[in-house]
Symmetry: C2
Subunit: 163 residues, 2 copies
């Protein structure tokens, strides 16, 4: 044991801090890059998603960019205004709205080289492969624990909705 072993609480706080840093900074930078092309962060996410997957219903789109439907309605409104995407009603189920890129949106999507969270991705790619795999393994186990805690909490809420 050569290096002084850090206190456990400090390690945990450090992990939380670092995750917050990585998330917020990557997001900020992506937003900045998007702005060079006249887009906002979420707008970049949307055109990249649509370019990859073709047309999507509003709800599957909002699921993929992790936002509520009501949020995405607004984002799409502004993108329609900018002529980046189109709204079209599905033939089979007229409740569903399909969003797809206009030629202008398509062109822009392919022109912008940045993926969401790009800097984070690149930094990960430069890690030793072994470290990346280890990181993935541990993070995955944390995620499983969080999911469990969430399920538990939701079960509690469901069982006592009156209190």
């Amino acid at each position: 044991m050569t290096a002084t072993r850090p206190k456990h609480k400090e390690v945990l706080d450090g992990i939380v801090e670092t995750i917050i840093y990585l998330y917020t900074e990557s997001r900020r930078l992506t937003k900045e890059r998007a702005r060079d092309f006249g887009l906002t962060g979420p707008q970049l996410a949307v055109i990249k998603m649509l370019d990859q997957l073709g047309s999507l219903s509003l709800s599957s789109l909002s699921e993929r960019i992790r936002a509520q439907n009501s949020t995405v309605t607004g984002i799409v409104d502004r993108m329609v205004r900018e002529e980046l995407v189109l709204r079209e009603r599905s033939e089979h189920d007229r409740r569903i709205v399909l969003i797809r890129l206009t030629p202008k949106g398509q062109k822009l999507a392919r022109q912008i080289p940045v993926e969401p969270m790009e800097i984070f991705r690149q930094s990960l790619a430069s890690l030793p492969r072994k470290d990346a795999e280890e990181l993935f393994r541990v993070l995955d186990s944390v995620q499983a624990r969080v999911r469990l805690a969430i399920d538990e909490r939701e079960r509690e809420v469901r069982e006592e909705p009156w209190t």
Copy 2:
């Protein structure tokens, strides 16, 4: 030119996905809990911070909760309206606004058992200690890489601000 193991990209994508999941879900849950006490997420962060550190200037407060001054001005406005905090001008430097808890805010801060990102913290705490340390080590190295990339990018921008 080595034959890339097909798994590697998936590992990287998985890491990004998981980080996004952990951050957004923890945030969502904290917000939900705060709502039980009539607070928003950022408001909870603010009273916890002030309870720990005493009065803070607006800019040091915004630095700590990772938001812009202009954002925190609004948050504090609404908290003053709710009589959770006070604004007072510093004696020594009248540009500085010091924010501190009212008794009502103080009481609420001590009454709420939740820290920001609570679920994430708890899940981390249940990890094997060795895994936590490994996680910290690798994340820290990712963070260092991100910082480096950001510095580099900012240097470029500073050198060619006219293009």
